[in-house]
Structure formats: structure tokens, C-alpha cells
Amino acid sequence: MTAQYEELRARAETRWKELTAGSLPWVRVGGGVSGEAAGADAATAAINQALARLGKRANVTRVGMLGLCYAEPLVDIMLPGGDRVFYANVTPQRAREIVETHIGNGVPEASLALAQVTAEGSQGVPGVPRLDDIPAMRRQVRIATRNCGHIDPRSLLQYVASGGYAALDKALSGMTPAQVLDEVKNSGLRGRGGAAFPTGVKWGFLAGSKAPVKYVLCNCEEGDPGAFNDKGILESDPHTLLEGLILAGYATGASNGVIFIRQGHEEPIEASRRAVQDAYDAGLLGKNILGSSFSYDVEVALTGDSYVAGEETALMEAIEGKRSMPRYRPPFPAQAGLWQKPSNINNVKTLAYAPQIVAKGGAWFKGIGTQTSAGTAILCITGDVQRPGLYEVPMGLTIREVLNDVAGGPLTGKRMKVLQTGGPLGGVLGESSFDVQIDFDAMSKAGAILGSGGIIVGSEDVSVVDLTRNLVAFNQFESCGKCFPCRLGTTHMLEVLERICMNGARAGDQELMERVGQSMKIGSLCGHGQLGYNPILSAFKFFADEFDASIKEHRGAVGAFADGSMIVPSRTRP
């Protein structure tokens, strides 16, 4: 252990002890964008008012998201040295009740509690399940999200007290860059941005370059509607990502790291900026990190609104301040990337695994998940399910297991009819795909894409034709316009899908879209055009009946077109 880390660790443990077993109760309010949308601000205000009325003091902390979005606003209370009790759906009224009972009277309000984490040696609160035992948590294995919802994302010390930066300390004090790289290679980690390329091999490309300036880029563009796991990790536990980014820099001999986020997402942006600044102040970034010979700089770069900016070469254009349009390859980023220097791009989730892989060893990580897809899948399950949320489950569960066991299955009285996975360039899947294993290869064999981890569930009330149109409308809106097959093709396909939705299909519309989709696949530089036909293709495959009803039988307008409420939000770039 380096002397610097030992000192940091000691400070962190002192602070942690004050928080958990000091003189004040610790109240954690689940935040992030999801918590905010569910009413975390009102809950926090009501908690503070109730405390003031009781004349009590407490540490009230806005933590990130635990992932149980259905239970938000989520609040947990821990009396000094006591059990940590979670309360779900905390309205202002309920906030007052739990503060009065739990803090005012010193007794947890068991009838309102969702779960608990018991203090060491405690029997716990009778009748309240343990957090790890509730259905939404039981099947989870939390690696990248292990701290989310538990610590203050603004606190470096809370991260360190939870074991943070121990992996960096281990690497810098006792491992060569090649050894760190080997651990990542041995872990079987594959990129979580969509392409599933082996991360160790990718890092090896950059490690092989002797250039003095080399970049590791972290991609948090995350424009996929329905996916919020990258932003969720950044806003809840930015130091996990940062530690991963520093480890990647060490393993590859890079000089600079860049965290790339879309403008407007203030919580992840602020959390990242603060984390970077605090890491500099603590000697975890900059010259001679933790007293070693390794020096590394990190900055946060923002992009404007553009989905294609998430494509790796377009991302570099955006960091350089230009239009985010993909570049021709070769040269590949490992030779000439950002500012024409050797570069390596990783998704947030990929990098967020690195600290635990280095701390616990590659073999440990490889032991989780399946043969070819090691580790976990970090899923955002939304739409028509009981428990929408952000869940980290081991690879190898089936989609159905995750939807039913973790996300609670369909809404009451409904069935789950359609899944939209892998973002708007991914698939529209029917029930026969529910038993596919969540695993990069099993899913791609089944014509499904794990992609960014978004799974949107639709009940029988959802028109698949209309859902497909919604996805294609997004793809049309977001085409960067560089390649005409994509620019015109997405526009043309949207036009066709709109008329199908309005009961105005023409004979041959399906074949027409097939031809356009084929041209896009052949004639586009990046995935946006190459994959733009995917949602339509998979929707045809799983829901031929619905398309036939619209195209061949003209059985009426569908979706929001049917009740005349459809507003077509299409817009083209100027």
C-alpha cells in the first residue's frame, strides 16, 4: 500500500465512522434524474421540515440511484450504529411519518419499510426483509453498480471508505501495466457499448503504441432512448468510472483520459467534474499518482445533442469541436484517433468493471456469467412492467427470468407482448424471444441485441407498427446526414411507416422498406445507417400479423394515429 493511499484510507474510515456510528442519524434520499422525476426534492424538503419541527438534527444526503426506480422516491434512515431501513414511494406525507417515528421516537416504521440492511450483530427490524432478499434485488450481482444508491456521489472519502481506489493503489504499488492488462484480458471482459469486443485485446492495441500522447476516451453520450445506465453510474458513483479510466490509462500507457457526456444531463456532468477535481486534489490524478512514476490527466468534454456523437470516430470529432460525423477508417483510432493521436474508446459500464477486476482478479470476474460473456448485464427495464428500474444481473439469465423475477412481470391484467432491446437501432422482439439467454452471443444469434442494455416492454395495448415508427422517427431525426443512403433512407422509411400507421399503406410497402434498408446497410459509413433497418426487420419477423393487418388488410389506423392524437415530432437538421 502506498503511504498516500494509507493516509487517504484512514481519513475516509474516520469520516465513515462519523456518518454511520456518530451522534447523528444518517438519512439517504435516492437522487439522480430518476429520483428527481419521482419527487425526491419534495421528499427531501419534507424530511428537513419534519426534522426542524422535531428539533432534531440528521445528516441528510442525496445519494445516487439504487436502481429500484419503481420504489422512488426512495429514502433510507440509519440511526447511529443501527439498522439501515429503506422506505419506498416516500411522498411528503410519508416523509413526515417516517421521520417522526424513526428519528423522533427512535423506532423504525416497520409497516412502511421496504427492506433493511442490518447492522453488524443486530437481529434487524422484525418483519422487514433484508435488502438482498427482496425480489428486485435477489438475483442481482452488483459489480459496476455496487455503490450506487449507497454513497454520496459527491464524496471521494465515502468512495474510498467503500474500498474505492484500492485497485489503483494495488496496481501502482505492485503491478506492472502489463500485469494489469493481463488481468483484464483474463477476465474475459467484453465492451458494453454494443460491439462486445474483448476489452483486454482493445487495450492491447493502445498499449502497443509507443507515442508519448495517447488517449483513453470514456463514452457517456448514451443517446439511446430507454437507456440510462451510463448516466446512472456517473451520477451515482462517478469515482468507480474514474478509477476504471485511470486503470485503463495505466494499463495502456496513456497520457490522457476524457469523459465524454452529452450536454444538458447536469447530474452526471456535475458529478464527473467534481470527481475529477477531487481526484486531482487527492493526488489520484496529475503528476506522479500516489507517489508513483505514473502521470495521467483527465478532463470532461461535452457534446451537443447528436445521437451519432456516440459513434467512436464521431465522438472524436465532437471532442475536437466539430460536427459529430463519423470518420473513414482506416486509420483506426488505435493509430490515429483524437487529435490524430492513438486512442481507445470504452463505454462507461466497461470501465466501471475495471476496479473490481483489478482488485479481485480476472479469474473472479470470469467466474460470473457465461462461458463467452463474463460478468454481468446492466439493464434498464422500462415500459409496461411492475418494477421499472436499473438492474445488474449475471449474464446467462433468460430475458423472461429478468422480466418476471426482477422487474415483477407485466402490469396487472396485462401480458408482455413486445420487447425493444439494444436501443433504436436494435430489435423489436416478440414472445418467442423471451427465453433467450442474456449473453452477447445467444442474443445476437436470436436476432436480438443487448446493446446498451435498454429493455423496453410493451403490453398487448401497444401497436408494434406504431412502436416501430417511433423508433424509425428517432433514427431519421438523428441521422447526421453524411451518408445519403442513411439520410434519405431513414426519411423514406419513416414516410412509409407513417402512411402504414394512418391506414394508407400501398401495395409493396414492405418490399420497398426492405430495399431501402438494404441500401442503407451497404452504403452507410457507421452503424446508424448500417443498422437503421434492424428494428423494422425484426418487427416484420416477430409481428408479421400486425404488419399484414395494416399493410395488406387496411384494418384501420394504429397507435396514437387511431384516436387522432398523433403528433409527428420529426425535424431535420438545418
Binding site: 434524474v33 439511446d224 470532461v300 451537443g304 469541436g321 427495464i381 421499472p388
Partner: protein, 169 residues
């Protein structure tokens, strides 16, 4: 007199743009980062900002700056309304009823598309994903997110915002 006032207003605008450009503390300052800084401070990109950005970033031309400003869909070239209402139309929100919300909010604001209300009080914008998909359908008012919306709750939130002073600039 009018020209005098206009000239003074232009000078003030130019000063605000320059201050925004100089406020960038990060290591890497580019055309895009400069435009983001201007829009962050002024809430839109006035024409003088194009020229000022071209001056600020060595080697860039007015055409380069326009090219970037016109590409990213978050940039706007006129001042927004006092309050901004964003309605998400991503697939999670779409499935959970975003269309009805979009329609009632439009009716409430007297608009039939994105843009400003005639009294300048509101800007309506469609958003491809506000990032709180598990709370769908979601709207954002002055960048604060509200989830699990119904047409009624969305309209109530819009009215509440309208009764408050303009969002801090």
C-alpha cells in the same frame, strides 16, 4: 435615438458573449465547447456569438462555427421563452402515453408544434430522451424532471410554472 439604443444593446450582448467564451475553465476549448458556453449563459446563440467564437478559436472561420452551431439540435438562435417545457417522445415514454401529454400540453400552450408561445412566456420542445425512462412518461420544466405524468398533472405543472417568475438566467 433608436440606433443608439440598438448599438448599446449590441455592445452589451457582445460583452456577455465574450464573458461566456472566457469563462471556459477546461483545458480543451473548441468551437463546440464555446458555443455550449454561450448557450449556457445566454440561453441562445445570437449572431454576434458566431463571429466572436470564430475570433476566439484560433484557425476557425465564421463558416466553421455556423457549421457546428447548425448541426447540434440543442442550439437555438433566438431567445427562448421565460419557461421551457420539454416533453419526451422516446419509446419508453411513447408506450406509457407521451402522445396524449404532448397533445394536452400543446393545447394548454396554444401551440401546434415546437416553439414559443405568442406572449413569450413558454418554449415547448420535444425531447428524444430525458433520461428518466423508468418514470415514464416524463416531462421537464426549466430542466427539472417530472415523471409518471398524466395529461392532467402535466398541465397542472405547466400552469404552476407559468405563475412563477422566469427561470434564472
Amino acid at each position: 435615438m433608436t440606433t443608439g439604443v440598438t448599438a448599446a444593446a449590441n455592445t452589451e450582448l457582445r460583452d456577455r458573449v465574450r464573458r461566456a467564451l472566457r469563462s471556459q475553465k477546461q483545458r480543451t476549448v473548441t468551437v463546440l465547447s464555446s458555443l455550449l458556453a454561450v448557450q449556457h449563459d445566454l440561453k441562445y446563440i445570437p449572431e454576434v456569438a458566431i463571429e466572436e467564437t470564430a475570433n476566439h478559436i484560433k484557425g476557425s472561420t465564421i463558416n466553421d462555427v455556423w457549421s457546428v452551431a447548425s448541426f447540434y439540435t440543442n442550439f437555438r438562435f433566438t431567445p427562448p421563452g421565460e419557461h421551457t417545457v420539454e416533453v419526451c417522445w422516446g419509446p419508453s415514454c411513447h408506450i406509457r402515453g407521451a402522445q396524449k401529454i404532448l397533445k394536452t400540453v400543446q393545447q394548454e400552450l396554444g401551440l401546434d408544434r415546437e416553439g414559443e408561445t405568442t406572449d413569450g412566456k413558454f418554449t415547448l420542445a420535444y425531447n428524444t430522451c430525458l433520461g428518466a425512462c423508468a418514470q415514464a412518461p416524463v416531462i421537464a420544466i426549466d430542466h427539472h424532471h417530472f415523471g409518471r405524468c398524466t395529461p392532467e398533472s402535466a398541465v397542472a405543472l405547466v400552469r404552476e410554472a407559468g405563475s412563477k417568475p422566469a427561470a434564472a438566467h
